[in-house]
Symmetry: C2
Subunit: 400 residues, 2 copies
């Protein structure tokens, strides 16, 4: 019988048994957000590829404006007009300028742009400039946004809208990303029936399949559902073997009674190895961590809230390790609105609701009912060596 | 010419012109996370539907255990064993008990469960109980998780994994949600070419179509792309008219030069009305807010970072109003690592990168280049009436 392990030890174990993804796919820009980059994309050429004005105004040779002021404007001859998106044949000589729009391509010899509000034109081809401008003023140089030849971002980056934007800027219409990890989801328990089936006495609906499917979806995984497996060794062995073959990770929930837990551990041991049996967390103690054919397998509690917390706290690092990128989590600071006692020698995860003034109200109720989770805005964490938290404590709330 | 309006005024306007979704769809549990509930689902029956044990042990009549202790155990006759998921015919009488697993259905007359670790069996049908248990101890009553007849959650709730779980617990395999708002996305600008096309001099790739598609995806919208519309009145009129007919919201980006901005405003005015032209924010000033056939239309800056911030700050409330639910945002507290000056009379949004110690480093560079956004972990906000923030200021960073 393995010893109960601590939460951080369980997280470390979870991380260490993830194999790491090698399957990649090339996806178009429209499908990249949230995916993890599998190969740093290179920027072919400078962005922008040419010198651009960042203002509406006149492209000038900066030296021609030195000393210009309200009382002593510089007078420049307008050599022409730059049109948006077009290459220009204009080449400035000292004493000349060219009208240019924001984003327009700078003409040859021009090194600055004087904004239109500091100029005056006389309609006869002359432009008065009432302010000086420094060289490179209001000009974006070629490659100032991104230098050609470098990487746009590193492998392992979880792609944001801005990353998609920078790919587009570089003229890349796709990016190589890791495939979504495949998670096989199984429920067990003779009392569990599919959600579409009416309940006979003693039966409950299968919550965990759907809870895990939803959570793994948020974690960026593809899920494969194996339904409800009968609580016997043969059925469980067959189902777990298939799930481990067909997925990167297997989550088996159910069996909160001692006999069922032992069955889960026994079957995992027969197909592979059990690495931990029991985690010092509340809820979530009756958890089994194992490995079948190099695939991580988690035997999660049947109680839905416990199943949720073990997935959120212990399975999450395994999924992060699989794709090599952390998963974003929303947090907020809050003030605890009531006393919370804790003397269990286990790390505790407590559902709370938040009020507009930043108070966190612990939600009372039997540990592990699904309605607690549903009513909560998030949860807070009481460390193992802590005897509880008094009302008024500053806490971090992880938001659902 | 309309006056430049403040950011909060722009947000209020944005919120007020959203029509509100009426189209709904019934989706299976697997597709619900992140969607917004359009009708509060009712819980048909109590969850659980029967009294369940929350421990492995013996179902008892609590009164039979009163006074039991290590030295004076209560001795009960084992009337039988409850099997998981099955209705039992056992009915306890005083002095009897029944073995029961966690989650098992309580037999008639039993009102508490004594955990197995406080009992001893002699193999001859007797059970010694070494602790008293109160009535309802270790029992979850029928309806204790969710009472039958009530709403599982309200209309307008953005569905979490726990909400999916509570639907499953209630035997509901689908839920009515609002359809995703449809957002029409158009780019303009004679300098803009599709991402797949090579750049000739003076041209840049279309970043905003892809940036907006990605951002609207995160905002829970369906996007329809209208490509790059030439910078002329007829083309823009035709494209905007179609986009307003076919979507709930239209985002038109591009045209950062004065003439192009005026064209956008003129075309929106000819098809509907312009409600604001110019927002006191940096980046993002050259923004047009209007309405065509009761559909909100935003004329966004061509500069990608400005386009991003106006969408994130000003368009977001419109999308929240459309579905009647707020959009989650990740935030963190940080300490500013450098001085930030601001004397523009505009609210400013500044990209920052975060270090592990919680310092926020402003990212320097020309306002609005896409690489700034891509390099940043998030942004912070400098209010309009603030002259800047000194190094060491406590700041809130909104995370990308």
């Amino acid at each position: 019988m393995l010893q109960v392990i601590g939460v951080s030890q369980a997280q470390e174990l979870s991380r260490s048994i993830a194999g790491g993804m090698t399957r990649t796919e090339l996806l178009p820009l429209s499908e990249l957000v949230g995916r993890v980059c599998a190969q740093a994309p290179l920027c072919g050429g400078d962005i922008p590829a040419f010198r651009r004005s960042t203002m509406d105004g006149f492209a000038v040779i900066a030296a021609d404006t030195f000393g210009a002021g309200e009382a002593s404007p510089a007078e420049l001859r307008i050599a022409g007009e730059i049109r948006m998106g077009e290459e220009t044949k204009i080449s400035l000589t000292r004493g000349t300028c060219a009208a240019i729009p924001t984003g327009g391509m700078m003409p040859e010899n021009a090194d600055a742009v004087i904004p239109v509000e500091y100029t005056e034109t006389d309609g006869c081809g002359s432009c008065l400039v009432y302010r000086p401008v420094s060289p490179y003023g209001n000009v974006m140089r070629a490659g100032e946004d991104v230098r050609g030849g470098g990487a746009l971002f590193p492998r392992g980056k979880r792609l944001t809208p801005a990353a998609v934007g920078v790919l587009a800027a570089a003229g890349a219409d796709r990016c190589l990303v890791y495939e979504k990890p495949r998670v096989g989801i199984l429920s067990t328990g003779n009392e569990v029936v599919p959600v579409t089936q009416p309940l006979s006495p003693g039966k409950v609906h299968d919550v965990n399949t759907h809870l895990l499917e939803a959570l793994c979806g948020i974690f960026g995984c593809e899920t494969r559902l194996y339904g409800i497996v009968p609580d016997n060794e043969d059925a469980l062995t067959g189902a777990l073997r298939s799930a481990a073959e067909e997925n990167d990770l297997v989550l088996l929930s159910g069996g909160s009674s001692a006999g069922e837990k032992d069955l889960t551990a026994r079957v995992i041991a027969s197909l592979g190895e059990v690495l931990a049996h029991g985690i010092a967390m509340k809820p979530g103690k009756p958890t089994v961590i194992g490995r079948i054919r190099e695939k991580p397998v988690f035997g999660l509690p049947g109680n839905p809230a416990a199943c949720f917390f073990v997935t959120e706290i212990v399975v999450r690092p395994c999924i992060e390790a699989l794709v090599g990128a952390s998963l974003p989590r929303r947090e907020t600071a809050a003030v605890l609105a009531g006393n919370l006692s804790s003397n269990h020698g286990r790390e505790e995860f407590v559902c709370v609701s938040l009020s507009d003034d930043g108070s966190a109200y612990p939600i009372a109720g039997k540990s592990g009912v699904i309605s607690l989770l549903n009513a909560a805005d998030g949860y807070l964490h009481i460390p193992r060596d802590c005897e509880g938290l008094p009302a008024g404590s500053a806490v971090r709330v992880i938001l659902f």
